[in-house]
């Protein structure tokens, strides 16, 4: 079990953090996830993979937590609201531009841009945020997402499509807001 914890703890923590937006809460939820896994390991029948079963527990705990708290929507990563400076603003415009593809390395190097992306992610509704995180951050395929969230494959497809559309709208609103502030 210790090896399993070591193997998955960072991935679980990362997914939970991206969903709840607070590192302390994410650590607590990750701990709670593994404790629950250990407690109910006998109930694991192997109908799904251990990987999806583990993430199902983590995501369910996190979604319940988010519903209880109802405060994650206003939180940014580690409780910092990122104000886009000029550089991040330009990078965000490039991301939203449909002229060229964005370089992932360039995005990762910009702390401000990551902050904006995280803010936008946290503004999504929890079910949409969950599919985006599981797909784009954890890298699950649609079948695994459906298994984790216990929803139909078509629901994953439509929810992910809507989530990305909403995410783009949120980001565009952020760019417009930044432009109006700089003027």
């Amino acid at each position: 079990m210790e090896r399993l914890i070591i193997k998955y703890q960072n991935r679980i923590f990362n997914v939970v953090l991206k969903m709840c937006g607070n590192s302390d809460d994410a650590a607590e939820l990750t701990q709670e996830t593994f404790v629950k896994v250990i407690e109910s390991i006998e109930k694991f029948k192997g109908r799904s993979s251990f990987y999806t079963w583990l993430f199902r527990i983590a995501v369910n705990l996190t979604l319940n937590y988010c519903q209880r708290q109802a405060r994650t929507a206003t939180r940014s990563l580690d409780a910092e609201n990122t104000e886009p400076d000029g550089t991040a603003d330009q990078l965000l415009r490039d991301v939203l531009s449909d002229d060229r593809a964005v370089d992932p390395a360039m995005v990762a190097q910009s702390r401000e841009l990551c902050g904006l992306a995280m803010d936008a992610l946290l503004k999504l509704e929890e079910p949409q945020r969950a599919v985006v995180v599981l797909r784009d951050i954890e890298g699950m395929n649609y079948t695994e997402i459906a298994d984790v969230l216990n929803i139909e494959l078509g629901t994953v497809r439509s929810r992910l499509s809507r989530a990305r559309g909403n995410l783009r709208e949120i980001l565009e609103a952020m760019v417009n807001e930044g432009e109006s502030k700089h003027r």
């Binding site: 449909d98 990762a108 499509s161």
Partner: protein, 332 residues
């Protein structure tokens, strides 16, 4: 191009590599032909890249230890009832329950002892049992040759009067019997110095007779009334240090059950008075006829003053259902 949910889902699936090979080819062909589709594909890819490029956070270093501690804590809490440590807890709890039960039993014992001290007889102090349910043992057995009176189905009683002047008491008693129009069988035992009167009359008649003795009651060293009901009551009650008012009230009660109940009450009252530190005061109070009458209810027809008793020669009315044996015992 206006957003089409179906096309968006298709493009989304294309970006995520979730389409079949044939569908992939179709979307690629569509994107190459339609610039709007190509633009939306780039938007989706950029959005995906942006989220996917977010830095990966690592779990806190102490997470593993915290998980272990949490599991241990939960395990201890859940397994406590069956663990060795918890067995000690169960034993401790059981011991506490046993101690509580023992304390309760001890308390009941003390309470029982106190009740027993109040109700039980005190040996060799001249104080007799105030009430007992068994057959009377302190009554003198009927002497051979003595006149016998068969009690009716009502009340039967025995009034033992201890006095140093049997002759004087006998004279007063004899006169009282005559004045109340009663007839009694009298027997005497000169050797023992006792006189025995056995009479059968109505409750009112016996009540009047007892009331007639009020004038010399104070001179008696001790008076004990023992009454017995018919078999269905299966009880006899002995009232020590009975006063004339009490005796009259007992005999003149409405029925046998009431007589026995009244006698029990007086037995307890008198016993409590004997055990009370200020019993002399109580006795003084109880000797006050008015106070006694306030304490107990005596039928009007037995509240007879000395004058009335001496002048009344009216034969007793009512059914002769009370058998009373009056024994005058000489105090040595």
């Amino acid at each position: 191009m206006k957003a089409n949910p179906n096309i968006d889902e298709l493009l989304c699936s294309f970006v995520d590599g979730e389409l079949s090979a044939r569908q992939q080819t179709e979307v690629q062909r569509l994107a190459s032909r339609d610039p709007e589709v190509g633009r939306r594909l780039r938007q989706l890819r950029n959005c995906r890249t942006l989220i996917g490029a977010l830095p990966r956070a690592e779990a806190p270093g102490e997470l593993l230890e915290q998980i272990k501690l949490a599991v241990e804590r939960k395990t201890l809490l859940e397994e406590q009832p069956v663990s060795g440590v918890s067995t000690a807890g169960v034993i401790h709890l059981m011991a506490r329950r046993l101690v509580a039960a023992a304390a309760m039993i001890a308390l009941l014992g003390v309470l029982g002892f106190v009740v027993y001290q109040i109700v039980a007889p005190i040996a060799d102090t001249g104080v007799q049992p105030v009430a007992h349910i068994d057959k009377p043992s302190r009554m003198e057995p009927a002497r051979p040759g003595a006149p016998t009176v068969v009690a009716d189905s009502g009340l039967s009683g025995r009034l033992e009067i201890r006095t140093g002047t049997v002759a004087q008491a006998d004279a007063v008693l004899k006169r009282a019997v005559e004045q109340n129009g009663l007839s009694a069988l009298v027997a005497s035992d000169d050797a023992a110095g006792t006189r025995t009167y056995k009479l059968v009359s109505s409750r009112q008649g016996v009540g009047r007779l007892i009331a007639s003795l009020q004038s010399i009651w104070q001179s008696f060293d001790g008076v004990t009334l023992q009454i017995e009901g018919p078999e269905q009551f299966a009880a006899s009650v002995t009232v020590h240090a009975v006063t004339p008012e009490q005796a009259a009230s007992i005999v003149a009660s409405q029925n046998t059950a009431a007589s026995i109940e009244t006698a029990r009450n007086y037995a307890v009252i008198n016993a409590m008075a004997r055990r009370t530190p200020g019993r002399d005061i109580l006795r003084m109070v109880s000797n006050d006829a008015a106070s006694v009458r306030d304490l107990v209810t005596i039928d009007e027809n037995v509240r007879i003053t000395k004058t009335q008793a001496e002048t009344t020669l009216t034969p007793p009315q009512g059914e002769p259902n009370v058998s009373l044996t009056i024994v005058l015992l000489h105090t040595r």
